[in-house]
Amino acid sequence: MKNTKFFFISFLMILLIPVKSFGLIEVDITRGNLNPLPVAVSPLSIDEKSRKNFKELLKKENIGLEISSIVENNLRTSGLFNPLNKDAFLQAPDIANLKPRFEDWNLIKAQALITGKVSFDDNKLRVEFRLWDILAGKEMMALAFTTVPSNWRRVGHIISDKVYERLTGEKGYFDTRIIYVAEEGPKTNRIKKLAIMDQDGANNKFLTLGNELVLTPRFNPTSQMVTYLSYFRNLPRVYLLDIETGMQEVVGDFPGMTFAPRFSPNGKKIIMSFAKDGKSDIYTMDLENRIVERITNHPSIDTSPSYSPDGKYITFNSDRSGYQQIYIMKSDGGNVKRISFGNGIYGTPVWSPRGDLIAFTKLHKGKFYIGVMRTDGSGERLLTENFYQEAPSWSPNGRILIFYRETKTDSKGKGFTAKLWSIDLTGYNERMVMTPTDGSDPSWSSLLSN
């Protein structure tokens, strides 16, 4: 695990002009957006000297163009925005950043415009950007950052988050990472490695070598720690991994198999299942004092636990009714209540970071669904149907679910693939998340900068 120090380098952020609060453009993200907002992302302007300095340092011809491409790509994949073709832009980047000619941008049907400037400033990367409302002819936001040059991709993500937040009224999710299991090889003997990448697929890195089977990595919502299941020495146990240092340790001292780990919302506990004598129960371990607590005690299989964002409740799946169904209980294990009553079997409940919904996997009549329901089990909504898909994980703003799909093999047992997919809570904007190898078990990090 090499140098991932950049998480600790803080961003110096200056508000250039106070954000005016009167309502200009707004994007409604609560419904499927069939008319994405046309937005022009002007390349960030750069002076010749800075361009040369960054070219030498980062091996990128024009870092201003690169950063604006990141913003453009983020806005496009959100499904809420339609970035316009740069060839149609009439105004040069540097002039547009000073004062756009709104008529020109109106002509190409842009409703919002992003402009900015990059400079090489005392060996640092300085970026300023502005968001303009074309129809109103007004500046909506202006910000500047200074950071180390190697952070340039994150600058693009932070600009995207600021724009998203300003236009939708909700926090963004672009400056985040995904941890997942990279898969290769035949279906009967898959090689699996932990892998991590930026939310947009850049900076993919493998964290394990593939010598042992690894499954279900999950981020700590408050730090760069990950918990996952490893079959190291053929003993399936829950591990803790610090992705900054590469340090690993077994979680707890259980006489047998532990699995299905997840962090508590404050990041101080791990909740997981412990299987013994044919029954699986839910336990927690406090990472500070190492105290292990038993949460459920039932002859059934209780697994896939997930905390509510306030830490007061736990959702999990259990087959105590005969088949796998979703339950909630208090965090001490009291007041167990079944909440899934639809047709089919239900598993992998995950509490939304907004607290109001639980995402799940459902199997009914040979099809797998990803869906959401309210925390009392009402309002079940199925977002997507497929031959096989499971294990949804929420974006930190609770608007998108990432999960994985496996394909049906042909009559010769060939053609197996596993891929990451994402879908909006609205049921729209379903898309494959590109990974260098096959992938499964994705987990979305919190926002890296807040």
């Binding site: 299989i301 799946n317 796998q324």
Partner: protein
């Protein structure tokens, strides 16, 4: 006797026999599957001559079938004869379930086998249990027969 009544009775008998035939064919239809449990020998290996290494389960089930119990009695007899041998029971699931639940159900399947071996006199410290969930299928097909071969508990010699 009126003819109509006779005809009607004949018809009923005919219907009944048709239904019975239908049932019988349904049970045998795939040859290697009996009410969802694999009964073939394709993937089976042997711990010793006449001692199959694995037992199979129905979908979502962890109870042993009559055939499974017979296999395990043979394994128990072999283990009693070879008292130094220890085994790992590896439990598996098919691909039609969520990963985490499959890990748990694999563990329960292996424990069903372990419990049965223990009732035939095999000490628990000669048996360890490991679940692979859906991670190590023997058959890569996506059909009921392939899935039935993958729902299994395999006894593997550990020493």
């Amino acid at each position: 006797m009126n003819l109509r009544k006779i005809l009607k009775n004949t018809f009923l008998v005919l219907m009944a026999s048709l239904v019975l035939t239908a049932c019988a064919t349904q049970k045998k239809s795939t040859g290697q599957l009996q009410s969802d449990v694999y009964t073939g020998k394709d993937t089976v290996e042997y711990l010793a001559s006449g001692v199959p290494d694995r037992v199979f389960f129905a979908t979502n089930e962890t109870v042993l079938t009559t055939a499974s119990r017979e296999t395990l009695r043979k394994q128990a007899a072999w283990l009693r004869k070879n008292s130094k041998i220890t085994i790992v029971l590896e439990g598996h699931a098919d691909e039609r379930g969520t990963r985490e639940y499959n890990i748990a159900i694999g563990e329960r399947r292996a424990n069903s086998a372990k419990d049965y071996l223990m009732t035939y006199g095999i000490s628990s410290d000669r048996i360890s249990v490991l679940s692979y969930g859906k991670e190590r299928p023997v058959d890569s097909g996506s059909n009921p027969l392939s899935w039935s071969k993958n729902r299994r508990s395999v006894s593997v010699k550990a020493n």
